[in-house]
């Protein structure tokens, strides 16, 4: 009976550690994706503004 209790405690301890690791990993992956998306968004915006500037200059000189 005591050994069963010990096993159960070990099991609980193991599950707790694994779920903490899972939680941290999910968080890490989500943040990586968000950071990448944000970076791409910023760059596309910057590129779009740059193109608009070039177009304006082009039509002004013609």
């Amino acid at each position: 009976c005591d050994s069963v209790k010990g096993l159960e405690e070990m099991r609980a301890q193991y599950i707790k550690a694994v779920s903490k690791i899972k939680c941290d990993m999910l968080c890490y992956i989500r943040e990586s994706k968000e950071r990448a998306a944000e970076m791409i968004k910023t760059e596309v915006l910057r590129e779009r503004q740059e193109t608009a500037r070039k177009m304006r200059r082009y039509y002004l000189t013609c």
Partner: protein, 49 residues
């Protein structure tokens, strides 16, 4: 623009490196905690035998 894309990617990866170091530390902390706690459980149940 192509050069700046490269440097942006490089900066992203650099920051990502720091982030991965931090998560490794966190995971190590979790496994260390599990080692300590399971050690405690083993000791406790060894005494009862």
């Amino acid at each position: 623009p192509t050069a700046s894309v490269g440097s942006i990617a490089a900066r992203y990866l650099e920051e990502e490196e720091l982030r991965s170091q931090r998560i490794m530390e966190r995971i190590n902390a979790h496994t260390e905690e599990m080692k300590r706690e399971s050690e405690k459980i083993v000791r406790q149940f060894r005494h009862q035998e």
